[in-house]
Subunit: 115 residues, 4 copies
Amino acid sequence: MSPVTDDLDALRDRLLRFVSDRDWERFHTPKNLAMALAGEVGELLAELQWLTPEESVTVMAADPDAAARIRSEVADVTNYLVHLAAALDIDLVANAHHKLDEVELRYPPGAQPRA
Amino acid sequence: MSPVTDDLDALRDRLLRFVSDRDWERFHTPKNLAMALAGEVGELLAELQWLTPEESVTVMAADPDAAARIRSEVADVTNYLVHLAAALDIDLVANAHHKLDEVELRYPPGAQPRA
Amino acid sequence: MSPVTDDLDALRDRLLRFVSDRDWERFHTPKNLAMALAGEVGELLAELQWLTPEESVTVMAADPDAAARIRSEVADVTNYLVHLAAALDIDLVANAHHKLDEVELRYPPGAQPRA
Amino acid sequence: MSPVTDDLDALRDRLLRFVSDRDWERFHTPKNLAMALAGEVGELLAELQWLTPEESVTVMAADPDAAARIRSEVADVTNYLVHLAAALDIDLVANAHHKLDEVELRYPPGAQPRA
């Protein structure tokens, strides 16, 4: 059923159609969508909270049930982020590159430890 | 400086190069990246918490300073999500479509109110 | 079954005994407890995300099922916060008063709008 | 300046007075307070995200600057949780004990591993 495309524009259009088909637009203000995004990130944290950092590196291969739940939570986070960006009229990828331009200047390679 | 591309693969490759140029890979386990993602989502919430839902709809046009901060937080969230998906070996867009396949079946159009 | 006490020390002692009776101490580092706290806050957000601010004011009286879920999520948040404070050796109430001392100086009454 | 008391009721009363002295009540709906709580939990996560679980156990003694920031974030989380509970008319400690009654029944000692 999944369309064979990997671009974000198609995902965004599918999400917006999903919402309008159900007449849910009135719920989807940026404020509410940011809360929903945070709620899904909370569920993602719950999947990783009792794992050691090392276990979190191998969980996708080592535990198929946990991997399926993690993929599902990552999907929910992605969908709300794409939806929120549409509601705020932000081009998600261009906006991320723009921030990276700044971050790369602020942290030159080899300059300092992560902190 | 921003590459003229809108695809996620290029963003992911840039992020991974940024991290390896600084020798930060050891920090970037899925567990730690999920925490960083949640931290950035928290900062995004802080930008929207005192706005009414209606104000959140118009803030990008009405308040340029707030709009710049919101764009910056959305960028941080995007970058950590792309990084986390790479660390978990998840194809972000295909994974999101796959979940939408399920969600569309669970919530048929017109069936029930949002809850 | 609930002890007739309203003090936090008794709640903390009950939580720590609950954990040691199950031999779960090794999971309960501050890092992991902070993730668990964030996960529960995410579930609390999910209960409020589609309500208007005005509906959130009246939900406890207007919707007994939602009220029960909200109480349950607030309890989970409380328990992880009390547990985290114990793990960090922080006196929760004294520490909160100390911060309020600073906040009261930073925001004198009548000085500025919330922002 | 801190009152010599360790009880939550006094902390809640101080918070509510702080808010009413500044005429901020209109901002403090449960929905908005839950967002503010989540924002502060995000800042707390940011303090712990690059530490190993083991480092998070010793950070309060080993790094006084980090310890001060962590105490400050825990205070912000505490204050918003106390404020939110007041807005929802929830007795924080009694409510937490009530949930523990259920959790203790659900997870008998020695029965199963944490998961």
